[in-house]
């Protein structure tokens, strides 16, 4: 079926919104907001770091939902959703690790430390790269989809367990800056720093959904091509 014009336009608007939000967020975070009292200018990387890991977690959650739905109903769209979200999740996870390294070098003095949250993020990257690899190594499309769906479910269910184990194993990362159990989020961060952070979170979520819609459309188009080939060969 041909792409309907309004859908394409809506995607364009989403992309434009993401672009504007990122521009505003970067401007606010890098120029308007004051430097952190303790960490100085380096802290500004938080405006990208936190939003990208949030986007990654949301992507993995979407992989989980898509995988469950696919195993249950066997609808192509759920599988395309899971596949798209996994690719985008890997992208955001890799970004998070790179940003974290850049921040860790001046703050901790090392590019990499075996701290709990760093390790967890690296393991997530490994699990979901494995997921993408599994997909690409199975030739039969339907089998690839159900195999990947199983890994999408198990991988997500494993995250809390991995989280617990690496936390008990080692904790060196500074405690969460904003989400702390005994204080409300807005008491831990000054307003001038919170505003750009929130703008960037919104910006990254917009970016996530924009990329997702593009990638989803790509998956649909691949399916269409496969259908056409099938019809031709009959």
């Amino acid at each position: 079926m041909p792409v309907t014009q309004p859908l394409r336009r809506r995607r364009g608007i989403l992309g434009a919104l993401a672009l504007i939000a990122i521009a505003v967020g970067l401007y606010w975070g890098l120029i308007v907001a004051p430097p952190d009292a303790y960490q100085g200018e380096v802290q500004r990387i938080m405006y990208l770091h936190l939003p990208s890991i949030l986007a990654a977690y949301l992507s993995y959650f979407l992989v989980f939902i898509g995988s469950c739905m696919y195993l249950w109903k066997r609808e192509r769209r759920d599988d395309i959703l899971a596949h798209s979200a996994a690719e985008i999740g890997v992208l955001f996870t890799a970004l998070t690790i790179i940003e974290g390294s850049i921040w860790g070098r001046p703050t901790w003095g090392v590019w990499w430390a075996w701290d709990a949250r760093l390790t967890l993020t690296a393991i997530l990257l490994l699990i979901y790269t494995g997921y993408l690899m599994l997909r690409s190594l199975i030739d039969d499309e339907n089998r690839a989809s159900s195999a990947a769906a199983v890994l999408g479910i198990i991988g997500f269910l494993d995250i809390p367990l991995i989280h617990m184990s690496v936390y008990w194993w080692r904790t060196l990362h500074q405690p969460p800056s904003i989400l702390q159990p005994n204080k409300a989020p807005w008491e831990n961060i000054a307003w001038p720093l919170l505003i750009p952070l929130l703008i960037n979170i919104v910006a990254f979520l917009l970016l996530l959904f924009y990329l997702l819609s593009l990638r989803y459309r790509l998956g649909e188009m691949r399916d269409e091509i496969r259908m056409h080939r099938l019809e031709h060969s009959l």
Binding site: L71, L126, I127, L137, S146, A147, L151, L161, M164, S165
Partner: protein, 225 residues
């Protein structure tokens, strides 16, 4: 107890095949022993250091041996379209999952039962009386390994380069099991009992229970058609 009967039936089939072919068990056993030698040559141990490293080395040996077994797990089913025949029969696929898990568990436990004392002998370790406790922890860890290992070897069954892919998808998922087992064993070797490692053991138990349940629930979706 239909599920249990079917599981036992399938398990019996696999055991009989293994008994007649003697492929997996022997290769796994020799590989495990070989690893102990390789470890000994690679690290120049001071006697007091060995006890500290023992849990990690042992688990590495089990992990690699187990992976070797897993790559062979569905080999008999792949030959002569046996898997299709199994799927055509009115068996519960959950039973197939349980049988394969138990079979792999049995192989690994047999190997561990020999390799662990061998490790103690080769590395001149003290504290033989701790072996039963250590073996109990290993048992729980091995259950976790076999459950996810069976799932993943079914998932990679039709993939190209499946033997390479299997550890790639399996090992990151196994991190809680690896950490929990090694910490528990370390505590036992240091203090003589589990002591403050109880929370690790609970984590291990939780892992086993969660993934056995998930496995039974979704295994029929994994191996369809």
């Amino acid at each position: 107890m239909d599920l249990l009967n079917q599981t036992l039936l399938l398990l019996w089939k696999d055991l009989l095949l293994e008994l007649r072919r003697r492929e997996s068990l022997l290769t796994m056993f020799f590989f495990g022993t070989l690893l102990l030698f390789v470890f000994h040559f690679s690290f120049d141990f001071a006697p007091d250091k060995v006890a500290e490293m023992a849990p990690a080395l042992l688990w590495l040996a089990f992990l690699f041996t187990g992976t070797l077994g897993l790559t062979q797990l569905f080999q008999v089913e792949r030959e002569n379209h046996c898997l299709d025949a199994l799927l055509l029969s009115p068996l519960d696929r959950g039973a197939l999952f349980l049988a394969k898990t138990f079979f792999n568990l049995l192989l690994m436990l047999l190997v561990e039962l020999v390799v662990m004392p061998l490790f103690w002998i080769l590395f001149n370790l003290q504290g033989w009386n701790l072996l039963p406790q250590l073996f109990l922890v290993t048992l729980l860890g091995t259950v976790g390994f076999c459950v996810l290992g069976t799932m993943m070897s079914a998932v990679t069954l039709r993939a190209r380069a499946r033997e390479l892919l299997l550890p790639l998808v399996l090992f990151p998922l196994m991190i809680p099991v690896i950490l929990a087992t090694i910490r528990c064993m370390e505590t036992i070797m240091r203090a003589g009992d589990l002591g403050d490692a109880w929370s690790w053991l609970r984590l291990l138990l939780g892992f086993d229970v969660i993934f056995v349940t998930v496995g039974i629930l979704i295994f029929d979706r994994v191996i369809e058609d």
